[in-house]
């Protein structure tokens, strides 16, 4: 062995992870600002630096468009697919940061924002992760920061949520790691591309892939691995919940899509993935049924998120090229609809009260007509009604399911959507119904007007994507 220890990667390799690095470094900058700046501006400075870092990350990622590159010996595959997911993460993180102004006590604020950014950088790593090591690295980076963030609020439920998330998520990580080990044992390689070669031992390979998918399903909170989601979402502070509801899902979906499309051998691929479509179907039904009874917006959106991820996974059924495009399109739509709804909740919150109870929406249509109108629009989108991106996304998913021969999945999607209408319109009804006896909640003065920006961005995006869905036609890339 005459080899000297050199780092075998050049500038082009590092360039692929500049976006994630930019976000991670902006977290450090936020912490530094907290140390150096006077107390009154610390919070705002950390927030501004975070948004700046995310925007820089988004811009850097966009530069890679059209120049696909397999960096780090296939550990990070940069290309359209990775870039789209990176942009989704950046977008979701920025929209969540707009809600994050009141997050944490004064001395925690910068730390909380830094954690959020690190978590986002983990998700950005997942966007391009193409071997089992980078996948695990990304998932742990994403999750570790979130464990802390969940518990950052002072109330008891937050600590409970953090602990619950920590224990259950670690268990899932263990499953995933075990699955990865078996996959490595079966194929002798950790890169996803190598997994697609016919494995030596089927039993080992199947078990490995199954355990890996269990871990993924947990992170995606697909039924029946969803039990943690409502409790954690409810306990965590609002901006963290908003962030989790999109970023975790986007990162994990990137892994799932890459695994389903690029890593599985042609022959066994569909057999291995078949249970996943069943889980998607279960999620659509169970998630929506459970959402019916919720009286807290965070819990309602948690269950609705379970169902929405079911729709997205259903789009992947049959692993058709169309399916992936439409899954990505619906994920973008979901990002805007969900974060729009969370922004409205944030605008209703006051100190010591997050405004997420359904009761705080009572009569909102008369107290704050514009806000109520926006909320109605977002809920219409989540329910898949026009004129929103949710409607267009749903028709595209239905079309791709029918096209791939999964008509039963399309049928269940329709049933799930019909059930979900009650859950979403319950909120609309609360906002507009004239109830004589109900006490009118005091007009909320929001702790920060920043979420209005998020509301505006999301509403415009949902309308435009709904009427002019360019992306699904040609722009969205396949796995590379």
């Amino acid at each position: 062995m005459t080899q000297t220890l050199t780092i075998p990667f050049g500038g082009a390799d590092w360039a692929t992870i500049y976006p994630a690095l930019a976000v991670a470094l902006s977290a450090l900058a936020a912490l530094l600002a907290d140390l150096l700046l006077p107390r009154p501006v610390r919070r705002a400075a950390a927030l501004a630096l975070g948004i700046l870092g995310l925007a820089a990350g988004g811009a850097l990622a966009a530069q890679g468009w059209g120049h696909p590159y397999d960096a780090f010996n296939g550990g990070f595959v940069n290309g359209g697919f990775a870039i789209v997911f990176e942009e989704i993460v950046v977008l979701a993180a920025i929209l969540s940061l707009l809600l994050a102004y009141p997050l944490g006590r004064d001395d925690q604020a910068a730390g909380a924002i830094a954690l959020l950014l690190w978590s986002a950088s983990g998700a950005m790593l997942l966007a391009g992760a193409a071997n089992l090591m980078t996948i695990f690295l990304g998932i742990e980076l994403l999750s570790l920061a979130l464990y802390c963030l969940c518990g950052i609020a002072s109330w008891r439920a937050a600590r409970e949520a953090a602990l619950k998330y920590l224990i259950l998520s670690s268990t899932a990580s263990a499953f995933m790691l075990f699955g990865m080990a078996l996959l490595f044992g079966a194929t002798g390689s950790v890169t996803l591309a190598a997994l697609a070669a016919p494995p030596a031992s089927n039993a080992l390979y199947f078990t490995g892939a199954g355990l890996f998918l269990v871990g993924i399903s947990f992170k995606l909170s697909l039924v029946p691995f969803h039990e943690w989601t409502p409790d954690v979402y409810e306990g965590a502070p609002l901006p963290v919940t908003a962030f989790m509801s999109v970023v975790t899902k986007a990162g994990t979906l990137a892994v799932l899509a890459r695994f389903a499309y690029a890593a599985l051998p042609q022959a066994q691929g569909q057999a291995i993935l078949a249970p996943l479509w069943v889980l998607a179907a279960l999620s659509m039904i169970v998630g929506n049924v459970a959402a019916l009874a919720q009286t807290d917006m965070k819990r309602l959106l948690a269950y609705s998120g379970i169902a929405q991820v079911g729709y997205i996974v259903a789009a992947l059924a049959g692993t058709s090229a169309f399916g992936l495009r439409y899954a990505i399109f619906y994920l973008v739509a979901y990002t805007f609809m969900n974060l729009g709804a969370f922004s409205v909740v944030a605008l209703l919150s006051r100190e010591h009260d997050e405004g997420s109870r359904l009761a705080s929406f009572a009569g909102l249509g008369y107290r704050q007509p514009l806000l109520a109108g926006m909320m109605t629009f977002f809920l219409l989108g989540l329910a898949g009604l026009p004129p929103t991106a949710g409607f267009t996304g749903k028709i595209l998913i239905l079309a791709s399911s029918v096209n791939a021969g999964y008509t039963w999945l399309a049928g269940l999607l329709v049933i799930g959507t019909a059930i979900s209408a009650y859950a979403y319109f319950k909120v609309v009804r609360a906002m507009y119904a004239r109830t004589a006896g109900a006490p009118l909640v005091r007009n909320a003065v929001p702790t920060s007007p920043l979420p209005w920006l998020g509301v505006g961005i999301c509403a415009v995006a949902i309308l435009v994507l709904g009427l002019y869905p360019i992306a699904p036609s040609d722009v969205l890339p396949l796995v590379k």
């Binding site: 109108g373 028709i395 239905l398 079309a399 029918v402 019909a418 209408a421 009650y422 119904a433």
Partner: protein, 487 residues
Amino acid sequence: MIAALVLVPILAGLALYALPRRAEGVAQWFGVAVAFAMFGLTLAASGAPDESLRWLQRPFTASFHLGLGHGLSYWILLLLTLATGCALLVVRLPRRRDFVAQMLLELGAMSGVFLARDLLLFALFWDLMLIPVFLVLIEWAPSPRSTSSWRYLVYNLTGGLALLLATAAYGIVQGSTDVIGRAPAQLAVISDAWSFWIFAGLAFAFLIKTPVWPFHTWMPETYADLPAGMAAVVSAVQSKAGLYGFIVIGATLFPGPMHQVAPLMFVLGLVALLYGGLIALVQDDAKRVVAYSSLSHLGLIVLAIFSFNPIALGGAVVYIVAHGLFSAGLFIVLGEVEDREETRLLSRLGGLGARNPRLAGALTIVVLAALGLPGLCGFAGEILILTGLYQAGFVAAAVIALIPVVLAAAYMLRILQRTMHGPEVADVPQREDMTALEIAALAPLAIAIVLLGVDPGPLAASTQPAQPVGSSAAGPAQVARAAGTAR
């Protein structure tokens, strides 16, 4: 220009929310002006070329394709804009600005349904027209515990989603959804199995929306809870969307499945016809009487459509518009009655005609139209449908369909007698008789009722594109003229 028929009401409706809440009168006149402007625009745009804008490229092509033509869409749009305008003239609700805005949004969405020449666009507007009705149901429901909004939403959304799934499947199989009004020869042939199931999805949506027994249970409650103006528009026009779908989409794109399900539809139509008529006889709430009478009348139209007889089909088209005219009139007049007596229960009403002769006159006109008095529009439709059924050989059905025509006379006259005649109930302070404005609101409807009754010809002839190929001798227009002039 055609796009304006959809966009102007929607934008105007949204713009109303920018008005101060107290500017109720301004909002109302603005709404009336928009509705009648749309009426004028429809007249002016008759025969204008289609307007189209590419929407989706993959997985199937779809366009924002709107077309008016001279056919059924044109007549329904005239009915819709007229009914909306008239209903808005007499609105007397609290929070009128919001109500007018919702009426305009509903006007735009429904215009979209009847103008869409793309199946996906049709599905979009189909779902869109749910929302204003739902919002009105929750905001102006008489009781906060009322469940009518849920029933309305769940039933109609389920139908809408079935329509959406069928549209997606159709798009995949056909490659394009830009198909409404295109000649069947221009389209790819779809396999029988696909064709049947896609049609089943569409038919499910159409049956719920109409509604046809046994999917009607959302309807009486919804009509009873909706404020008169919205109830008028929903029963006059929204309930026709399903029938329009059968005629314009079903008959041209899915002729095979249409014939396959015809026996079933015949049974459903006959049950609706009799059941609706019988229940209408015993309802105490006047609005519910009208609701169940709608079930009965629309059942007759279903029979006509599925008899595939050109005369019956012409009659169906006439009756679609006729029913729209008199049911809008009925709901508006009953709204006036409720305004004065604060109840709709027939058992608690009576003798209103003594002090409100003009109101009694208005109710008499719409009631007579509804029970099918010759010379008014209801008769023109009924006689064409019955003639067509008889000519197509459905003699038994034609005979059974006569029963509800008799029942209609009973329950409609019952409304008239219980509200306007009999001993006066004088426990509630009464408003004065109809004002000039209220008369002006009903006059256009009454004129249309008479005009259509005298000459239903142009309307009956408007089914040309949907007419089955190889139809028999006398066209619907000729028979219609004959029916109109025979008197």
